[in-house]
Every structure is written in structure tokens, then in C-alpha cells.
Symmetry: C2
Subunit: 599 residues, 2 copies
């Protein structure tokens, strides 16, 4: 696998250095030890390890998915071997503080590094990146002792982590979980229940697995207000850090997925009596933070996980784009329009307008998504390092608004990119001899997990743009307005596209007010998914205008390509939002009015 088929190093560096100016962060105390040379070195390291150790078994572990013999999970040995190399790089803790053994890299850089692994092998990469989320939650909410016991081995790559939210009867509806945690005299808890859809829930890739589990302490408030968070390890750890007894967390079964096959996805039973630590029933759990506050802790992790889902969708879209581009340059087929001479040689299919359309659409989706993901990384960096509390709070607010979009937009449009990558390949793209069909299957998970597309729509329209009297949407509009102002100053094409973007965001603001102005919550939220799609396109148009400005006045193929992709997005994509916003403005009730018996 050539690394040139995973991501574009040129594009990454353009975004990081020419657009987001990550180097400027090295002026801030948190990142003062860093430099462009260090950033380049870790990016190169990520590219090399991803290319040499993750990409080669991507297809193999898809074709040889994990199996469970009733006792143990079996996976191809390449998975564990790759993760061992990954652990040695220290990249798992790339974004974490030096105080816990991390590199304290800017999130932008850590995110760009992570993208290489996701593009190379999303299923193998899931194990460490789930672990990062787990560790970050404990760093934010765990006790010093918990951090010492559980996070340190994660940073070293010895323990992996999971998040256990869903249950068979409660997928998206966490209020309805029934796993219970019974307090013990020694301050620990014993957990009983079943968790569904737990990624990396069992395997033999690490010495131990640290589950973060949502459960209810009996007697607590009903619904989401009674949810607490627990550390429940697969294997208990002794006081000296060595592994102790087996805890009563048992794999009940593996789910067999369409894609993403290399990541085990599990149904776990807690406290069903297969193992009884110290002879007593229940899986041993340790409360994180205060009782009944579990959901807010988990949402801290969940929000990061949502950005990660978008990043994964982007990475799959990106590699599929590059592979279809390489194919289109090599595959001769047909002749230009107007050349009817069958004796003239066939041309590479990239010369056909419709193939260019499919490539340019992919480019606009995947480069737009990468830029959006890195922009969200920048907002995390601002939260951690901006000088004033006001700047930090603004970054937090803007990321809050963008989270459902950065989760959903790549999940939709980079999946569409994979769809187009197959189409560019023709029949070959439909076969497992080529890579793109796997990317398409892998990517189909992303609109589902960590909150479905519909839930993200409700989050955006029902919460994010309304909270604090619409301060989040106002901030987004303000930031877009700033970009438009820069575009005006640049004149010419940026100015023209800027006017179109201004009109689009103005319309979003107006329609948002209209939708809520009717005073009918049910109707307002009925088309929340359409709202999410429309606002996502406006946001990505903004991100494209930002890229256009970063390329402005620069010469060369790369910059010409950025300009043309920006044009494509404004001409072919942004106009889609018109009818969507019209529909929303009309407070359309077509779906609400559909009676169940009419189906």
C-alpha cells in the first residue's frame, strides 16, 4: 500500500500550516516545547506506521473477522502486532498532558496523525482511539488513584478501554438502561446487567480491558438523572498494579457486521455469575466522580467520540477518493466526446467529464471534511490554550454547535464519496479484489454509532442552536461573517462566493427563527434531519471559502485544485440547501401527519 493512497500529506500540511497556522500555537505556554519540526516528525511517523503496519492487514482482517469459540476471541495476529508498534510510537497519548506521559501535542496535530491510522485501517485503529477517549474521560473526572491505576497502563498501551452505554432494550434511549450498581461496604459497587453494541468489548489484544459503564444505583432518581459511571475492568488489578482475579464481565456474543469487521462488537453480561470475585456475585465496579452524574461525564467523552466518528468517516472517504483517482488515471476506456474513430487509442477515464465530476465531488467532500475535522481540533486547542477565558468559552460554544455537524456531515458525504469511488471503478469497484467496497461498508456504520443521524439533527435544532438564546448559532454566523468580510477584501471570486455564503447563513438564521416561531415543538423538530443536512452544507461551504482564502494568490496545481473544488462545492453542492430551507420554513408536517396505519 503506497501511503499516497491513504491521505494527502500536502493537503494536511496546507491545512495545518497555511490555513490553521498551528505553528502559532508554539508561542503559547502549553505548546512552547513544540515546533514545526516536531509536528512534521510525528506526522511522518504516523504516516509511516499507518502505511507499514495498519494498511497491509486492512483487507485481511475484513475477510477474517473475529470469532468467538465460547471462551476466547480469535483475531488475525497482524492486529495485535500493529497495535504493539503503535504503542511504541507514543501516539496514543499524543494529545495528553506531559504530566501523564503524553506528548502534549496540539489537537490539530494529534488529529492529523490519527487520520493516517483511520485511513489505513479503521477497524484496528478503533482499539487505541477508543482507549484515548476512555483515558481522557478518566483524566477529567477520575480520582488521582483511578488515573494512576487505569490511565497509566492505557498510555503505555497495555490496557485498552471501552464505553458501555447501550443495552438491548435501550439503544438511543439512555433513560431506559437497567444495569444496576449495588454499593458495597468497602466503597466499591457490584454491577448486574447487559450491555449491547460495545466496540472492543472483548479481545486478547491487550493485558486488560477497562470498561466505562453507565449504570443505576438503586434508589436513585429515575431516567437519565439516576445514571452513574463506573470503571469495570475485565481483570481486577491488585494494589501493586499487577493483574488479579477475573471480574464478572463476560462476552455473551459478537455482532456480525456489514463492515468495520476487524473491531469486535459485543454483547457483554455483567454479574451473571460466570466469575464471582471474592466469591460474591456481581461485577466489581468503581464509581467515577459523584453518584448520578454519570451521563454528564460520559457526554464529555461522547462529544469527543462524535468528532472522532466524523474523522473516521472522513478518513475512509479520503482514502477511497485517492484510490479512485489513481484508478481513473490508469484505466483506459472510451474516447473523448466527439471522437468517433475506433482506431484512435482509448483515453484514461479521468478525461471523461462524468468521471471528473465524481472525483471532484469526492474531493470537495473529503477535503472539506478533513478541514472541518482539523478546525474542530483547533477549537479544542483554543479551549486548552487561548489566553482569555472569553476566547476559551467561545471555542467551547462553537464546538458545541459544530459537534453534531462534524459527526454527521462526513458520515453522510464521505460515505457518498465512497459510493462515488466504487462508481469510478465500475465493476471492479464492486469486487473485493479492490479496496473501495470495503471502505463503503466500513463507512456505513458512521451515521449510526455514537448517536444516529436523526439524534444529531435533534441535538442541533433542538438544543445547540437554541441554547442560551441562540448564542451558539449567533457565534457561528459571526465567524462566517468574519470570513465573508475577508473574502470581500480579497475581491473577485472569493468576494462573489462570500456573498453567496452570507446569503446562505442569513437564510439559516432566519429559518431557525421561523421554525421555532410557530411555538410548536413537535412540528419544529419534525424535519430536524433536513435541518442538519442543510446547515452542514452551509458550514462546509464556509470551510471551503476559508480554504479558498488560504490558497488565494498562490500558484500551482495544488492551489488550482483547491480553487476548483471550492467552486464545485459552491456551484454543485451549496444550492441543495435552498429547497431544504424552504421546506423547513414551511414547517412541513408531511411526516408528522402520516398515520401509522397508512404505511
Amino acid at each position: 500500500m503506497s501511503s499516497s493512497l491513504l491521505l494527502s500529506p500536502h493537503d494536511l500540511r496546507f491545512l495545518l500550516y497555511e490555513w490553521l497556522d498551528v505553528e502559532a500555537l508554539t508561542q503559547r505556554p502549553r505548546y512552547a516545547e513544540h515546533s514545526r519540526e516536531i509536528f512534521d516528525a510525528v506526522l511522518d511517523l504516523a504516516q509511516q506506521v499507518a502505511t507499514d503496519h495498519f494498511a497491509p492487514h486492512n483487507k485481511y482482517s475484513d475477510a477474517h473477522e473475529p470469532t468467538f469459540d465460547g471462551q476466547r476471541v480469535h483475531q488475525p495476529p497482524q492486529v495485535k502486532a500493529a497495535l504493539e508498534v503503535f504503542a511504541e510510537t507514543g501516539l496514543l497519548a499524543g494529545g495528553m498532558d506531559e504530566s501523564v506521559g503524553g506528548m502534549q501535542l496540539p489537537h490539530m496535530v494529534a488529529s492529523a496523525c490519527a487520520a493516517w491510522f483511520k485511513a489505513a485501517n479503521i477497524a484496528t485503529a478503533a482499539y487505541p482511539f477508543l482507549t484515548v477517549g476512555n483515558a481522557n474521560l478518566l483524566l477529567a473526572n477520575g480520582s488521582p488513584e483511578q488515573i494512576d491505576t487505569w490511565v497509566r497502563p492505557m498510555v503505555e498501551g497495555r490496557f485498552f478501554g471501552t464505553m458501555c452505554l447501550s443495552e438491548p432494550q435501550a439503544g438511543s434511549s439512555l433513560a431506559d438502561i437497567t444495569t444496576r450498581a449495588e454499593p458495597q461496604e468497602d466503597g466499591t459497587y457490584r454491577l448486574f446487567g447487559n450491555k449491547m453494541w460495545i466496540s472492543a468489548g472483548d479481545h486478547e489484544l491487550s493485558e486488560n480491558i477497562v470498561h466505562l459503564v453507565l449504570a443505576k444505583i438503586p434508589g436513585g432518581p429515575p431516567g437519565v438523572k439516576g445514571i452513574s459511571l463506573f470503571i469495570v475492568p475485565k481483570i481486577l488489578v491488585n494494589d501493586d498494579g499487577s493483574l488479579g482475579q477475573r471480574n464478572d464481565v463476560v462476552l455473551a456474543g459478537l455482532n456480525h457486521k456489514m463492515g468495520y469487521r476487524g473491531t469486535t462488537n459485543t454483547l457483554l453480561n455483567f454479574g451473571e455469575g460466570s466469575h464471582c470475585p471474592d466469591g460474591r456475585p456481581g461485577a466489581v465496579g468503581y464509581l467515577v466522580g459523584a453518584p448520578h452524574q454519570g451521563l454528564s461525564y460520559m457526554f464529555h467523552m461522547m462529544n469527543s467520540a462524535r468528532v472522532e466518528v466524523g474523522a473516521g468517516a472522513m478518513a475512509l472517504g479520503y482514502t477511497g477518493y485517492l484510490k479512485s483517482l489513481a484508478y481513473a488515471k490508469e484505466r483506459p476506456q472510451g474516447r473523448p466526446v466527439g471522437d468517433k474513430n475506433p482506431r484512435s487509442p482509448q483515453v484514461p477515464i479521468i478525461q471523461h467529464a462524468d468521471v471528473k465530476r465524481m472525483l471532484l465531488a469526492q474531493k470537495s467532500y473529503v477535503e472539506g471534511a478533513l478541514a472541518l475535522v482539523l478546525y474542530c481540533g483547533r477549537l479544542l486547542d483554543e479551549q486548552k490554550s487561548a489566553e482569555s477565558e472569553d476566547e476559551r468559552a467561545q471555542a467551547r460554544l462553537l464546538l458545541d454547535v459544530l459537534t453534531p455537524i462534524v459527526k454527521s456531515w462526513p458520515s453522510q458525504w464521505c460515505l457518498e464519496a465512497n459510493n462515488l469511488a466504487i462508481q469510478v471503478h465500475g465493476g471492479y469497484g464492486y469486487t473485493r479484489e479492490y479496496d473501495v467496497e470495503q471502505h463503503y461498508r466500513d463507512n456505513r456504520l458512521n451515521p449510526i454509532h455514537e448517536g444516529t443521524y436523526g439524534i444529531q439533527g435533534l441535538d442541533l435544532l433542538g438544543r445547540k442552536v437554541t441554547m442560551r438564546d441562540g448564542a451558539g448559532l449567533a457565534l457561528l454566523a459571526e465567524r462566517i461573517g468574519t470570513t465573508v468580510e475577508q473574502a470581500r477584501k480579497a475581491g473577485d471570486e472569493p468576494a462573489e462566493l462570500g456573498e453567496r455564503l452570507q446569503a446562505a447563513i442569513d437564510r439559516v438564521v432566519t429559518v431557525t427563527t421561523q421554525v421555532w416561531g410557530y411555538g410548536d415543538t413537535e412540528a419544529a423538530l419534525a424535519n430536524a434531519s433536513v435541518y442538519l443536512e442543510a446547515v452542514g452544507h452551509v458550514v462546509v461551504a464556509w470551510i471551503w471559502l476559508e480554504q479558498l482564502l488560504a490558497a488565494h494568490g498562490k500558484e500551482g496545481d495544488f492551489y488550482d485544485g483547491k480553487r476548483q473544488a471550492a467552486r464545485f462545492f459552491f456551484r454543485h453542492e451549496l444550492p441543495r440547501t435552498g429547497p431544504q430551507l424552504d421546506l423547513l420554513a414551511s414547517l412541513d408536517r408531511t411526516t408528522l401527519d402520516m398515520a401509522e396505519s397508512w404505511f
Copy 2:
């Protein structure tokens, strides 16, 4: 598998009897032997056989795809068993003339019967339906002797057929095929070459396989004008009809596909010397019709095959819709908007607006596609049985225009329906424990085979709407105008939707003229795929208005559902065409202007 999860018998009967009035055909000589009772009986038979013999092994043969041991192809025995039951029904020749052993059913009815098998198991159904296309081509262009030798055993279910067009170096570009056919003294030919992507190209499901092969006779004209058509059987047939020597057609390998796995897809070698009939090299072939006319014969078959592809896409979309509907009615999750009480019971997810949206969108796609497919069947019936030559010619012309649409529209939107069916299922939909992920994988083939989406766009914009001074588009607009006139007379909602449809088709006509008015063929065709998508949506809006009129004034859940789906299509779907037609009217050159080096 309950048959209620494959297709809706109610919908089929509504379309056939209440809308298309298939009973009226029994007044015509060709169908005079038939009656509604007969139609109902064959529809019931198809439903029963599809449900009992095709659906049960759909998942199994996906998980156990065909294997090739170098000598023989192995498939699960259920496939052959199902095809034997199918042969007994006589449905393979349902639409064929009684003179060749067919039932001489209206195409509408034969198509509705076929839909059951496609919904139940598209991969197993492919074998007989490819055979039907093969047989129809020979009935139209073969000699009486050829028909006797090859078609009769196909009608009896003993021989299956293929179509061999593509080659490894020539997928969509048939001008570049290199398979050659050398004339022999006895009037037969010997073929040499390789054919790629041949569905059902090898198997042990039938006694023999009849390949229809495009090849070039040395010395003929270059390009497509030098292509001839040959019958090349896997096994030669003796004068008495018994099987003779093995012909030199050899399976070089199976393609391993993302979906549609139960249908073998093959690379075939002709005349490579594995078998040499009568000790001489080459695969024995028999010329069909005149030399160098092969492509026109093949396109006769190809046009039917394109309708069939659309029908298959529809069937997969339809069954996915019904399965997600059943799931949504049964799966409790969450509470209505505004009910924050966690002690209230969870509701079935069908009560959530966004789930209704996903179901209603599916309904509008799959019922729209089924209606379009049956309408095309009606046009075939008109071609065969209309009283005047003028009516027959009009039906032929309209079907010519609609062929790229009926091929492509379901391939795009019923695939999207499958996407939504997965989404309705949430995580379960992503697992192979449920059916919908397979439908999605199976359906992804349909935008590729029998002419890719891009090629259909070129066919529609570059040929079908321009041929004969735009007579085809004018006829389409006239038929739509007739429906709009009926809607005006019906008043109220039909009239209102009719005005919107009239505006849409007027815009299509105007934009078509504009696109060609610039005198720039390359630019005119650059966005042909966008044109195909826009015109497809306008056509399906018309088909929905037709259904609305057929339901007009009728009471009951079924008719209410039709009305609501029509509303959905006009409110949520038809407006998509606005920006698409704007783009076309601007003769957008964004893709054309993208240089290869800019990617």
C-alpha cells in the same frame, strides 16, 4: 419469511387493476385468452414460490458464495432446487408467445410476477431472468432452427443463458472488444477471446449454458460497426438435441463481489485450447442474424435488461422498506417529543417523526419505482398489442426515452431506500443478523451493470431527448400534460400538484433546449448525470400524480397512504430538481475545467 415482507400484494393489485387497467388488455386479441382470475392466479403462484423457495436461502447463499475449484463451480444446493421449482411454474416463459410454449401474459403481469422473485432472492432469480432476455433476443433475431435448438430448452428450464459483452480491456466501450470469430467452411465460426463480468457465466444449475457473445469477424469494419453476435454454448448440441462435446468456453475465474453473491460472475476464456471440439481450436459459435449487426440485436436485449435492472433495484428497495416498516412497528425506543417522564413506557419507533420520514421516503421511492417499472411494462404491452401502428410506435418511442430512467432512478433511489432501511434498524441494521444490509450490498450493483449511471445520462441527454428533433421528450411532456389536465379536472390537491408538475416538465423542456442551444457538445454533456437525476425525479413525480389520481376519491388507509406518499414526493423530493436544472441551464463547466494535474 413472511411474504408480507417481500412486496405488497395490495399495492401490486392497485397498480395493475386500479391504475393501469390490465384487465382492459383482455379485450385485445393477443390477450383474449386471459382474465383477471388468471392474472391473480399467476401473481399468487409467483408470490408463493418466491416466498417458499427463493427467500429462505437468500441469506445463506450470500454467506456461502459460489466457489471454483479449478474444475467446477460449487453452490448451495438450495439454489438449484429453487430453480427447479421455478421451471415447473412455467413463469420463465410467462411473457413469451404461446407458439413457443409461453403463457403470453401481458408484460405488466409478467413483470409483477418477476418482482416477487427479485424481492425474495435477486441472486437466484438472476439465472432465469438472464435466460429470459437471452431467449427473447433469439426469438426476435434467431433462425427457426436456432430457436428450436436453443430457446425451447430454455423455456423448459433445462438451458440457461448469458450475455457476453464486456472484456477486460473494454468494459463500457464496446468498440474496443477484441474477441474474434473466424468463419469455418461449414458456416459455423470459431471464437477466440476473453469476456469479463459475465453473470451466470458458469455454474452447474442447468444442463447447458447458452452464451450470446459479441465478437468481430476478421476483415469487418472497425469499432461497433464490426461487431457480430454469436450463440456459443458451453456444451455443443447434437442434431437430435442431445448434449454433445464440450465447447471451448472455460471459466477463468469468479469475481468476488460485495453483494449479489449468489449469482456467479465470471471471466470466461473462449478458444484457449482447453477443449477443442472436433480436434480444432476455437470455441464453436453460430452467427445470429447478419454479420456486423450484432450490437443492434444485443441492444434489443440490453434495453430489456436495463428495465430489468431497474426492476431488481426496485424489488430490493421494496423488501427493505417493508422489513424496516415491520421493525419500526415492533421496536420500542424513546418517548414522544415533550414526554420527559422516564416512567412512561417507551413507544414503537414508528411514532418518531424522523423514523416516519425515513419510512415515508422509502415508500415514495419504492412504490414510485414499482409503478414506473409496471408503466414500462404497459408500454411493452402497447408495442405488442395496440391497435394502430401509431400507438405502437408512440409506446416504443416513450419507452426509449424512459429506459435510461427506469434503469437508473431505482438504482439510485431504491439503494437510498435500503440505506434508510438500515438507518431505521439502527445498529441491528448494520449486522448480518438482519436482512437489510444484504439488500444494500446487493443493490449497489445496479448503478453499475448494464450501462453505468453516467452512460445512462449520456444516453438520455445525448441521444434520447435529441433524437428525431426531440420527438421523444415532446411525447413525454405531452403525456405528462395529459395527466396534469386530468389533475386539473379533479381539482383540489391533484390540481395543485399538477401545476407544480407542469412547471417542472416545462422547465425540463426549456433547459434541454438551452443546454443544446450553446452549440457545445462537450459542455452540453458534461452534466448529463445531473440531467438524468433531475428528469428522473420529474418523471417519478408524474408517476406519483398518476397514482394520486387513481386513488382520488377513494377512502381507506391504503389510499390515504398513497396520498401522503405523493405529497411527500412533491414536497420533499421534487424540489431537489430546482438547483439541478439551474446548474444545467448555466452550462456549468466546473468539471470540464478541472485539469487532471489539479487533483
